[in-house]
Subunit: 132 residues, 2 copies
């Protein structure tokens, strides 16, 4: 049942990126790619923990964060479900703003590396992690 869903996720313990954050990103990614759809149930905390060889609380931490962000819905005693995704419409918006940016950058003869650098600089400049 859920075992094939487990294959969506793969953790890199020695990457320096916290496990719970890798999981958060991968779940979001899976939802964005429609590998996980609205109403679908995620693998249980214990299943995931066992399959990925980490502590259940680490999984739970990721789930909790995703519930706070409105990505998942917590059903106690049942499991975590994928929430309604407002993203589809916003995704178009995101895509169009990205294309707009890349086209502008290309018109100025910026290389891909330069574009990446600029994005990274702005991300760190405009503070990360916490809202500002």
């Amino acid at each position: 049942m859920t075992s094939n869903l487990i294959n969506l996720f793969s953790l890199n313990v020695s990457s320096g990126i916290p496990i719970y954050r890798q999981l958060i990103d991968q779940i979001k990614q899976a939802i964005r790619m429609n590998l996980l759809n609205e109403g679908e149930q995620l693998p249980s905390v214990r299943n995931l923990a066992s399959a990925l060889q980490v502590n259940p609380m680490t999984i739970s931490k990721a789930f909790t964060q995703l519930e706070i962000e409105g990505v998942l819905i917590r059903k106690r005693g049942v499991g975590m479900l994928v929430a309604e995704q407002q993203n589809t419409s916003i995704s178009k918006q995101l895509e169009s703003s990205l294309i707009q940016f890349i086209q502008t950058a290309r018109k100025q003869n910026l290389s891909d590396d330069e574009i990446n650098t600029i994005v990274q600089q702005y991300l760190s400049l405009h503070s990360k992690g916490k809202s500002q």
Copy 2:
């Protein structure tokens, strides 16, 4: 001399944001606003440390990071100078399209890593000379 430059910076020790990072951001901001210009010398580590009531090494850490990023130039025995700014001169149009994109992405709760990934995906997907 440099004392008025010191007034550019103000730290919030209880904000949760690391001191050295606050300083990094504020120095970059000052450069972007032309309050600090190319070749200009920053207040010394000890001056800043004393004025801002923090350890000199904390200031030095910020300086080192900015040197790595190419924002400042280290002159040993002399001081830190503002480097030539290549990135500040990107066009307003490019900047605004980038900000637009990042804001949209952040509204979707995308992490910095995810944003970078998406940009890279689009760059290779829509790369100039290549098919696919």
